[in-house]
Symmetry: C2
Subunit: 306 residues, 2 copies
Amino acid sequence: MSLPDRVELCDVGPRDGFQYEDRFIPTNLKVEIITALADAGLPRIQATSFVHPEWVPQMKDAEAVCARLPAREDVTYDGLVLNREGLERAHAAGLSHVDLSIATHDEHSRNNANRTVEKAVAQAEDMVHEARAHGLQVQMGFQTVFGYRAPGDTPLDQVVEMSRHFAERGVESISLADTTGLAHPRMIKDRVRAVRRGIGDTPLVLHLHDTRGLGLANVYAALQCGVDRFDTSLAGMGGCPFVEGATGNIPTEDTAYLLDELGIETGVDRSAVGDASLRIESFLDKTFPGKLHRLMQREGAVETAE
Amino acid sequence: MSLPDRVELCDVGPRDGFQYEDRFIPTNLKVEIITALADAGLPRIQATSFVHPEWVPQMKDAEAVCARLPAREDVTYDGLVLNREGLERAHAAGLSHVDLSIATHDEHSRNNANRTVEKAVAQAEDMVHEARAHGLQVQMGFQTVFGYRAPGDTPLDQVVEMSRHFAERGVESISLADTTGLAHPRMIKDRVRAVRRGIGDTPLVLHLHDTRGLGLANVYAALQCGVDRFDTSLAGMGGCPFVEGATGNIPTEDTAYLLDELGIETGVDRSAVGDASLRIESFLDKTFPGKLHRLMQREGAVETAE
């Protein structure tokens, strides 16, 4: 059971973390954090989302952020789009990669997006077609893949079929999200292997949440079945809008620590990511659940005190 | 690679959690929490420590706690002892099991206990002899087994030799502690296998910390090499005296969730443990890093609001 030699992390904090913050993060600071993440070696950054500014005021400056992304050949920037209008905006803003995201559990789809999964698939298929006509690469994301109300209550057959369906339509990658944090290592292995068999060589990304403390245990299980792309978020920002201190996205620094210690190359300087985490915490005057940046802060304080 | 069918958790919170609290927890409440943990199905509970009350005032009622432990054949209570005086106190208090704990890294031993590892081994050996003369079972614990200042900087040969040495002297079990939270899954596997080869059939216990977020990933790795006993702490209390909100011991509830979902029997009702966690948090007016009891609280609040 050999682990991958190299893993690609995508920091989704500038979208999935920032969007839950009530306090508006000035465009300058958004670009500063994204630049810091790029300088820290993140090969991919989810920079923003193109949603209606009345729904998510934090993302109202999506175009302004995109206009100021540092031009780097070694970094892929992507943006989340939920409808055709968002897709047109992302294209006009000059992005090369977009993320689509739909539910896989019917009840979740109806509750969250007021449509059946079947309808969501049809709409996403149209968007994939349009994105590719614009020359955009698409990461097709599926939500609540590991359960909606209980572990595994999302039908695996449906997830596999949806993954196969979009892989055949030429998406750049398939992303499986543990939206509700219900995955555990055994299920990770079962579902990843089943989806992998369905999508051939299409790259597979895992978007894991640490809601019940299993985020990095699930990463380790996924590595054991060959997964080499993960979404993470600086300081563990975002992924759970409900309660301050509750944990959602797995922290970029902590994940990089795990991978470093396993001898897996990421190219990420976790200390530099930690600096960015402390910067955004300082601006928002709150703490996020990641452990490594907190240790950095404490050790810095100890050094100062000595 | 099959996982164990059954795992035994020892809740160390009443010692390793409580001892870091400045506010004195009344004996009544200590006994209430210990009773709740026993009722929740914990097969083993570290109930107290016999240290000088001037060093750890929180533990000054060790005898009173022991006198009021609920008599149950299905629960083992143990107490930490650091010297011969503590051992005599534990014996007089009627405990059947004691925990000894010594450093394995020379610098750590000198800094923390002002003695070499060699001296610590000799002193512990005398205590094991005396404990067994009293009919006490001994769990022999080793600190910083996975590193002191950096991952793996504790010599593995020394750890294996110490483990073998005490296994041959008839201790009930050997416990390996990741005191500084520097372990990672690969090292867990390497070191557990090496120690296992040295100690034959003597039971092996892991005491893991979540300092860098890898606590449950390390549990998963340990399960993969057959470890079936772990120390945990309700709500993740304790294990790190330095900073509120920093994480030390792996939470009992979160660990039980992982094991439940992997199909491994523990006998632990994690919801009942969560109630005990909320009770002690309420008394101390603070929150601990475990995630499951926090989710329970939130879901309870949601239900109330609806």
